[in-house]
Assembly symmetry: C2
Homo-oligomer: 462 residues x 2
């Protein structure tokens, strides 16, 4: 590999400007889920196109009914070289509760952390702007040294990943010929730990659902009506409390259809990772596993389905007290799926369950927020093997192949719509606080992430 060392050295030299560019992108408030930030999302897409053009990509902003896509091509590699589609997302999560941030979420900074580590702070550092920029900066270092990339590269950056990706499927469908590659590289996942890179080969699916229960046609005084009039908060809490039985299993009809027990050899390989309940939950101040009884935390988060209430609200929630019986109560609920669980069937089962528990004089509305099945990738493809070696060369410990509790619906779409498997490599850590206040990304993740992609591209070309 004669070309590799100068490219890696160049990535090291580039690091200060790589940080400057990342910070420019982080300052753009591209919160996709909140319509107030629509223009910021477009601004982030335009910034990426401008920068990719600077590096030599043929890049463009592609309008959708929602936030725009960024598509870029680089044709410098040999026609016989493999063709990869790199995917990332430039949109970020909302920042509330804003008062819990130590620093402005949109004014990124480099901070000193425990043990002399350097961390990059701000919304999107880890999810996913910092991660997608590892690949962009890998390409820049390559171009700087060799004038070309070792593989043919198409880039797809999405701006709706945090809001259910409504425009993604139509876009893939309309642009299938342009986007189809030999396989996809997806950078939106985590390392196993600080020293151990990881490739994710199983991802849970996701069903998002909002439910609004309406009782009386107005808010009522609890003195005048309490004890006689239906309280929608009571109804909703009974519905939500009934989603799990005493053993932590989910009670919806047919919910476990398609859920297989994890094979013993896979469970055994997870046990070698040395993760304990104390270690996993202790990091966030907890100690008691909350889900199905008798299963390890790895099994619970990688291989078992869940039902989680992500938000609930109703009645008077301000200062002081108000003796009101609300007219409405609402919740946002998500289901994580595994195996071959069917998102549509689970949504239907949930709605039937809610309706069956509703008093005759109350009504319910449902608002869907996306759905995608679980993903399973092959553990022994040549691409995965090459990437594993490349990552093991860069990091202190050898790479491991893991499952993931999160959902990356794009991987299923690539599989189903473009007939393309994905390689999921990311450099996040479990304490990055993605989706929470004080999101951060290790400077090491950024720096060695860039170097990792250089090694992976080289390995794929070999």
């Amino acid at each position: 590999m004669p070309d590799l060392m100068p490219v890696l050295a160049r990535a090291d030299q580039n690091l200060p400007s790589s940080l400057d560019k990342l910070f420019e992108l982080l300052r753009i408030k591209s919160i996709s889920t909140d319509p107030a930030y629509k223009d910021d999302c477009r601004k982030a897409a335009e910034w990426l196109v401008d920068y990719l053009r600077d590096i030599g990509f043929d890049a463009s902003v592609r309008t959708t009914p929602g936030h725009p896509m960024v598509v870029a091509h680089h044709d410098g590699a040999a026609p016989s070289a493999p063709h990869v589609l790199f995917y990332g997302h430039y949109d970020v999560q909302p920042v509330d509760p804003i008062e819990l941030w130590d620093n402005d979420p949109f004014e990124p900074s480099v901070q000193e952390a425990a043990g002399g580590r350097k961390i990059l702070t701000g919304r999107g550092t880890a999810d996913d702007k910092g991660q997608l920029m590892t690949f962009v900066e890998a390409c820049r270092a390559y171009k700087d040294i060799n004038g070309a990339l070792p593989v043919r590269v198409t880039i797809l950056f999405e701006g709706e990943e945090e809001s259910g990706s409504p425009s993604l499927k139509p876009f893939l469908e309309a642009n299938a010929a342009e986007l189809k590659a030999d396989y996809a590289l997806v950078c939106d996942t985590s390392m196993w730990d600080r020293d151990t890179p990881a490739i994710a080969a199983a991802l849970r699916g996701l069903v998002g659902e909002e439910v609004v229960v309406t009782a009386a046609d107005r808010d009522l005084h609890s003195g005048l009506f309490g004890g006689a009039a239906a309280n929608p908060i009571h109804i909703l809490t009974r519905i939500l409390a009934g989603l799990h039985d005493d053993t932590g299993r989910i009670t919806l009809d047919g919910f476990y259809n398609g859920v297989e027990e994890t094979p013993a050899n896979i469970k055994a390989s997870w046990e070698t990772l040395g993760l304990t309940t104390e270690g996993f939950l202790g990091e966030v101040g907890l100690s008691v596993p909350s889900g199905e009884k008798g299963r390890s935390v790895l099994e619970l988060t990688w291989a078992r389905p869940t039902a989680e209430v992500n938000g609930i609200w109703g009645g008077y929630t301000g200062e002081g007290f108000k003796t009101v019986i609300a007219a409405k109560a609402s919740a946002k609920i998500s289901f994580r799926l595994v195996g071959t669980q069917d998102p549509d069937a689970i949504r239907d089962s949930f709605r039937a369950y809610v309706r069956s528990r509703l008093p005759a004089d109350c009504s319910v509305e449902f608002h869907p927020h996306g759905g995608s099945p679980a993903i399973h990738l092959s553990y022994d493809s040549p691409v995965l093997t090459k990437a594993k070696t490349a990552l093991s060369d860069e990091w202190p410990k050898p790479a491991v192949v893991i499952g993931m509790g999160g959902s990356i619906p794009i991987v299923g779409d690539f599989q189903n719509m473009l007939g393309m498997e994905s390689l999921l490599v990311g450099f996040g850590l479990s304490d990055d606080r993605i989706h929470s206040p004080n999101e951060k990304y290790e400077l090491t993740s950024y720096h060695k992430g860039i170097r990792s992609w250089i090694r992976i591209m080289e390995a794929l070309a070999a």
Copy 2:
């Protein structure tokens, strides 16, 4: 009763200016529960003092650690005349959700309603500014004609009734000699129906409690932690759902201590009132009684205790979706009490129940929001009998003696601290939407309310 007719006629002549004065008071945003309106509360107290002085009262604003009291005396009556303490409250409920109001809640107006009725719109029209002004305007009409009142009158207006009255007991204690009268007149209740005045002789007590459940030490990503980490919304919904059993009874240990079955003769008298479940619930778009099975809606709202969740919140409640497991979830809960239920014992039992259902790695905080026992007044005192006749003379149908689902803790305080019974007369209607958007008060309630107090004062003096 030589003096009565000219005074009633004067009240009729005064009505336009009585409305003007009421509207001045209604425009003051005296929301006691929200610290942002502290100055407005004081402004309302000052406005009342100024006006009472105009009428000839010796009135003053009395500072407390919370919102001020208004105390006023009128000494024109014969020393042998009975001495009454009139109580009302000048503070009002918050106005959210503001978008559901048809008119500005603090810009009162007279509107035409169904059947050519006139209604007064705005926050506080019925609860309690419009009601307390019926008494003030009755006094004004009396003074205009006779130069004096037929009874000795002390007035006490409170500014914290909607926020648990924290300053009231210390104030009564410190000013007992000044405030003690033969009995209290309280105007904060409703008519039986549009044509039928009512005197309330039983009031439910109230315990208010806020509960905050904390699980992890930060918000978590439901993909990374879902299925393994405790979700405080789940814990809270299970706790709240478990407050009632399948028959609608409340499950707290010892909750029904002190709750007696309603005597058959009282139940029989309620049945003559002709209230149906369909009529009561149908008015607010409901049809199924929600509380204990096998009891009438009157029994449920007048004679049975309740547990109601008045507000709940946790996790992501904004636009779109956020796959978060919240660190905290909160609820505001109130219990309505009857018989001799002990507010402190019920608060303790609730807290013990919550703690018993909390996983070992979660914690809970409680914030009390007031507590008062239920009140039972005698159904056959001479004062009540006189008032009943006076009301029956004014309204199309004879007055009835009823129970009330709401709580007016002051009545218990008058009883316990000043050894004084209360006469509860009010002119609200069940569709006044107190505590809700579009609160209103019938013009008839205001006008005939003023005339009713003239008749009652005259009857008490006789």
